[in-house]
Symmetry: D3
């Protein structure tokens, strides 16, 4: 397989194990407690973290907070305009599925006791799509969440000394295209992939979510292994980008 | 009234007849045939124009095209997060009303015969709101529409020599705050306004829409006149900004 | 323009500044606290005002009341049967828009402190449509509202000496047809109008709402002025009709 | 039971076997092909029959027509205002059930071959409710349907010599209150009834629908018989009222 | 008519007054407080009774309980697959109507004071349909309800000595096919029936619901009588089957 | 870890690598082309495969068929009754997600060219839930699909010699409970699991879907490996059960 990897040229000239250029711009909204414009190549997702005191009814009195997420695509974020889900009057299965994935991924690094009875809603709206929107959303939402929590700490809405974040989280897609495992598929690669996998990792390299789907044909154990290797390395790079973004002073 | 005008200082230091800083960035999406990020101060609206061949069923065989618009606010575009209309399963009255206003305003400068049986959908998504989102949406959507039509002309999708745009259109809000007519209200002014008016003008200074609403108390004929004067001048400045934006070469 | 006005004959023989025959029948329902069948020519709208103690949750404890409105058309109120919005499962944009307009217009003459924590819901159901349904609805709803408030005063549900109504409100449409400004358009005129405007005035001649729309072509400032003149005079006649109706003893 | 019948005085002074005053006003809408305002005492239902050429897709090419019905109550037709089903976004079970009943009842007297590929939609909107709205709706809808068919025959939309109506149909409620069978219950009687029954008959005295419901306690065979006797007699009177209404010249 | 009855052979060899084989299997779910798989020939309905403490809001503080029902068909319970109502986003009229019928029928034998402020929800899901699904649902739901109440008595959730069930209830369909009254129609007979009737009786032979519908032509009083005779006898046999089922020890 | 595995006793006495008793009953519906009642312990799912000629519009003329799935839970399939999604008017995220998973899993073993322009809809309705409903659904749906395809081959609806199934597919859940990897979690284990994974395999042991979720804490690479080992072995046993079921003669 190595030879093929060496010889192959990806659509955009990347090597198989190379991420697209990643940018994470914080403070993109004057209203939200945390806000990020994240881009993985031409994929751009606007993530806001809305911090509010109080929790949903089913959680009241537990002393624990809550984090949830909603993902959506703007109608013309894709090559062909899609109907607005608000106009259709219902949310599609894909939107539901990704919203749930983003929420679960972020909750994996939150200590709800430390958060106290507060809620953070993460909104991830895709402004431009070119593959990997859900992984960009998770990666950006983590940074927005971190900013919202820092904001709440500054406002003393979280008890002194409490650390609601137990770690960081980032996500990347991997896939097998023409038999070659590739990291961070763009849309054109995604369409051609035999297998498509989204992997969410913590900053210390453990798994939060592993979702692999055989698109064209079932995959073998060694292919799964190769994809996981790429994904773990990719998430590690994204973790570095998140740290760097958070280290900057927010204007 | 003149004295009060002279003495008064607006929240952001503007004079009563002054617009907020206006920016119109074209080419903001790689997918849409026309796309603009328009800002009126802190109000930012992302406008895309999607050009497709063909028309809705009720229009087929007429030889005429169609232009329609959808307006929406991202959940955290405002100071307090609002529920997503897709999640609530229905579009609110305000959204409906503004979508219809934007569509009507743009259709006022379109020659549907010249457009031929093609459709342009204008999506105006508010990324950040600070008053005047509907007027920014109309002003930006016109530029996106102009770009989409130029694109279609380049692709020969519109017959040679036909001019689907019969003019330009821009919009601005005016209101009376503490008895003083003001141009282009920001959110804080809007909340305090006794009367609120949205005016849509063509580039040659005629009216496409005039919508005045007494918020706190009914308004007199001379107040209406003063507001119209401000609005016509404001639209004229916006018309200049649109021309300037369209004169730039699109990267 | 004067000559044209003099020479012109409207479809139904009216002069340009003439209203259609207006009737306002009170007490049209045995259940509602206020009820009116209003007709502007062949346009007939059934308006009920339902008075209930208490206010919506967001208003509780403020000591202030609330007034809201819902407008709808019966499916066969028009020439061609329309789908029921209850069957389609959602309210259309036009219905939303008019319901909001009616509610705002009535609220403009209500002192919510004087009303106390009570709610009035105005239902305006179009039984037969021939243009001007929204203006007939506002004009009739005011009378139903006045009756409902009188009923509540009789029942001591409003504190002695309080006057929840600060004035009266009426509405009329105006438009420009073949270059001539006309008052109170019937459906056939409305369809042909270049410009269509709805104006809501208080009994003392000030504006509550001014909504002008260029249907076929943008309109100039002097045309706007001519339309406003007609509308103010029309609303004044409607105000007289409202007073006369309210002066009658309710059987 | 006879003695009790003789001694009893109904709320409104009727004898047990007496209908409320019934009025059937035709031509109540200028738009609909058939239209009727029917009243059974204080119950008032506005029925329109909309005739259109063509049939629903599933019926195309069969040479047969279709008749369907929609029933609804205006929000303040009852003593307490009910939510609009269009606003709630769905039709309630009771509305569904009655719409289906009205449609089935009317279809029972239609020869679809004779109607040809045409559709009649019957809209029955309750303006004021005081018990028996569904039976008034059926009784009025029949007259509206007859007028719509006569209209279509006049327009030659139905083949010469064809008779789409095979008979007439009327409906009435019966019930047992304090052990006494009563005809045509008003709301107050309906609430107190142990058993409530709606009966739809053809003009020749046969049954189209018989729907009896034990509200407070199960009913015996002889009680059922007594109710059916009352209903058959009541429908016969309604049939006479329908004939009389249809015999009048429509202004 | 007697001769025809004697000579006739039903599709499945039954005599006109014969039920299909009826089975009532209790304890079909490990979760529900009462659960039954009831079959009337090839019609199979899964009925669960869910007992919960507390009542809906409108019933709180009355000391009375509540019983309600929901009926639904699995998409492929019929010969041709039907759309899921959850996917279509709304419940159809037939489903609404039958759910209401089942609820009313069961409530007819419940003493809500004796039940106390507890709620039982009866879910009747049709696994396989071959005519008579609503009557099988009622017949099975009664047994599930009886089991749920016995369960609650065992748990002391109902006061000692109270008897929430005042009787039993069963239901059967009857119809007229080719002029012959038949008991318990299977689907093929139902489709051919001129008249179709559903009858719900208490164990002591009184009526709870009588719903007769002329499918192909109106029916006469003696036909109604003949159908009622068959139905009363059929319900009596079903009552025996219910008693037998309830007499068995629940594994 | 081995020692803990040896020492541990699972709630129901199974070893960590042991499936619950699996039963696959074919021919459970007289209407569906394929139908199966599958049970994994107390989890029971009713799967039907509905074969119809023709394909959805977007697929017409391609010569290829389509396979899709809908999953749902009966309201009282769980310990506490859940609201019906049809009554709520929308499908929840979990239902959407699982329906999509089942459809994708089955499509992975279908050759759409060989199927021709035919559609199979798989309905998986959970009658009783005790963990692993989605994996039971996939496992049962495969058998129903195989029966529906055999039926279509018998009816010559699929071209002679074509094999629409390219393999078989089965699914199982695995998880880590108290640090120990366990196969086929029952509900009680599922609730306590730190990590939960669903694995869909083909009969030849390759992966179709791998979905692992950290419930309580992120998981390491070796834990992922241990879970995959268990899952592959479990699917292999399920594959044997499927073969055995399909080898039986269908009554």
């Amino acid at each position: 397989m190595g030879d093929r990897l060496g010889a192959m040229s990806r659509i955009d000239g990347r090597t198989p194990d190379q991420l697209r250029p990643v940018t994470i711009q914080r403070g993109w909204s004057k209203h939200a407690e945390g806000s990020v414009l994240v881009s993985f190549g031409d994929t751009k997702v606007f993530c806001t973290a809305s911090f509010t005191e109080g929790v949903p009814r089913w959680r009241k009195g537990t002393g624990e907070g809550w984090v949830t997420a909603e993902y959506a695509m703007l109608p013309r974020s894709t090559n062909t305009r899609g109907d607005r889900e608000s106009v259709r009057g219902k949310i599609g299965g894909r939107t539901h599925e990704i919203s749930r994935l983003v929420g679960r991924s972020l909750r994996a690094v939150v200590d709800f006791k430390a958060l106290g009875e507060n809620t953070v809603v993460l909104d991830c709206d895709v402004l431009q799509a070119d593959g990997g929107t859900r992984t960009a959303a998770i990666t950006g939402a983590y940074v927005a969440l971190a900013d919202a929590i820092a904001w709440a700490q500054g406002k003393k809405l979280i008890k002194h000394g409490r650390k609601p974040l137990t770690g960081s989280v980032a996500a990347v897609s991997v896939g097998i295209v023409d038999g070659v495992p590739l990291l961070d598929l763009c849309y054109e690669e995604d369409v051609r992939a035999e297998t498509d996998m989204n992997v969410v990792c913590t900053g210390d390299g453990r798994f939060v979510e592993v979702q692999g789907t055989a698109e064209a044909q079932p995959f073998a154990r060694d292919e799964l292994s190769a994809m996981l290797d790429l994904a773990v390395a990719g998430c590690s790079s994204l973790d570095a980008a998140q740290r760097e973004a958070l280290a900057r002073t927010l204007g």
